[in-house]
């Protein structure tokens, strides 16, 4: 065992590399990242970094605080273009400069990239947020004086950018094609509470209407035209309509690709090949063994650590027998204005509010399946309850215990 190749140098990849070291791996670890930057934290890109209250240096992820001490060979600014698994385990990763890195173990952690609106890529004034460079460009566009900002898509990124821009004094409009924000993860009432939160801060919110086109003048965006004919004047347009997994480089690898890299319950895609983070799709016990891909910060950390340890165990044979499947309680948070929204587990059609009210924008809501079991909890400005709820979900507590402890 001499080398691990970790492809993807963000949260999951970095934590995988660090976990492999901690599990006793003494060989070389190559950490390949397509951005020129050392691993940094993405959540602030739509919040305080965008607002200009912290600088890029403060975003560096803790295990890479001193890159020379991380214990990896950095391959930054390099894109993986191909992968050939080895019958003996691991495989060979081809980089865009033509070099081939052979690993006895390989971690796939290439994450996702943003979805864009067709034909808008080259339009000046149109922004997305995924990378530090994206956020730096948007920050610059919002730097001098009030702008008319149109945010397309009211998911968490869109909502956070809208909140940050509004708080900086910009004139902000949100356009969301669904009838309420966040319908992929929240119930309708809670989603509408997000819309209300924005309206109460003076943001114009259009729900249930899509974008027909963007009009420009000499290549600079001027107007967002909606499906119902509404025209919104815009200096800056931010598109936040979701992400797609980066798996193109694996097209000829023979690995199973289906909305991500498909793995077994132990995050193993092939012998000596594991996947973690936004790009990985695995049968999640907590979701009834359904193939699950989670685009969340905490999951990337946890899954990265899991696969790093797992890979070393697979290579050495130590501890491989006792391994438990990767079975986290998914959890994420979003900060918008002075509200903190934390969802643990998954939303369901049934729900009850056990503390506070939606109207006062401070509440705890349980999501229940048909059998009355709690599938998830939504804590709205209730951080203490959020962590408690997460523990209750992990232990499989019954609904009454949730009611009692979270009320």
């Amino acid at each position: 065992m001499t080398r691990l190749v970790v492809v993807g140098a963000s949260l999951a990849g970095l934590h995988a590399a660090v976990a492999a070291r901690r599990a006793g791996f003494e060989g070389d670890i190559s950490l390949v990242g397509d951005e020129p930057h050392y691993p940094y934290d993405r959540p602030p890109l739509s919040k305080n970094y965008l607002a200009g209250t912290i600088e890029a240096e403060a975003l560096r992820l803790r295990p890479a605080a001193d890159p020379a001490e991380t214990g990896v060979d950095w391959e930054l600014g390099r894109t993986a273009t191909g992968f050939e698994p080895s019958p003996d385990g691991g495989g060979t990763v081809t980089l865009d400069d033509g070099r081939r890195l052979a690993g006895d173990g390989v971690v796939i952690a290439t994450g996702c990239r943003v979805r864009t609106l067709p034909g808008t890529d080259r339009l000046a004034g149109v922004h997305v947020i995924r990378t530090l460079d994206n956020a730096t460009a948007l920050r610059a566009a919002l730097a001098d004086g009030p702008r008319r900002v149109v945010v397309i898509g009211c998911g968490f990124i869109g909502g956070e950018v809208a909140a940050t821009a509004r708080q900086a004094g910009h004139d902000v409009t949100i356009v969301e094609a669904a009838s309420a924000p966040l319908q992929r993860v929240l119930d309708t009432e809670s989603g509408l509470a997000v819309a209300e939160l924005h309206r109460s801060h003076g943001v114009e919110v259009h729900l249930g209407v899509g974008v027909a086109r963007l009009d420009d003048a000499d290549g600079v965006v001027r107007t967002v035209v909606l499906d119902d004919g509404t025209e919104l004047a815009a200096d800056v347009v931010v598109i936040g309509i979701g992400v797609v997994p980066n798996t193109e480089w694996l097209a000829d690898s023979g690995l199973l690709l289906d909305d991500g890299v498909v793995t077994d319950a132990y995050c193993v895609a092939a012998p000596g090949v594991v996947a973690a983070g936004d790009v990985a799709r695995w049968p999640h016990r907590g979701s009834g063994e359904a193939l699950t891909r989670i685009e969340q910060w905490d999951n990337a950390v946890e899954m990265g650590r899991y696969v790093g340890t797992r890979l070393v165990h697979l290579l050495t044979g130590d501890g491989a027998e006792e391994a438990e499947p990767f079975d986290p309680v998914p959890w994420f948070w979003s900060d918008q204005y002075d509200r903190k929204i934390q969802l643990a587990g998954a939303a369901a059609d049934g729900h009850e509010t056990v503390q506070g009210t939606v109207a006062e924008q401070r509440f705890v809501r349980l999501f229940l399946d048909d059998g009355g079991r709690v599938t998830g909890t939504l804590c709205w400005n209730r951080p203490r309850q959020a962590i408690l709820a997460r523990r209750l979900l992990a232990t499989g507590a019954d609904a009454d215990e949730f009611r009692q402890k979270l009320a």
Partner: protein
């Protein structure tokens, strides 16, 4: 080990409390309290993990 929390960064996500409840506590006022700034050796690994898992990267510690 001496724990330092940057309260300008901390947003009370309470992840640290989930990992090391003997050291970190988010109370009903939604503020984080450090229960023990110089925790004993057996808690150091949990504090290290809390620092790495903090979504705001607000926890640092100095090795004494």
């Amino acid at each position: 080990m001496k724990i330092v929390v940057d309260f300008d960064l901390c947003e009370s996500n309470a992840v640290c409390m989930g990992i090391a409840p003997d050291v970190f506590e988010v109370r009903d006022d939604d503020f984080l309290y450090v229960l023990n700034e110089t925790p004993p050796d057996e808690l150091h690994e949990m504090v290290r993990e809390s620092a790495e898992r903090c979504p705001k990267q607000a926890i640092t510690f100095e090795d004494a």
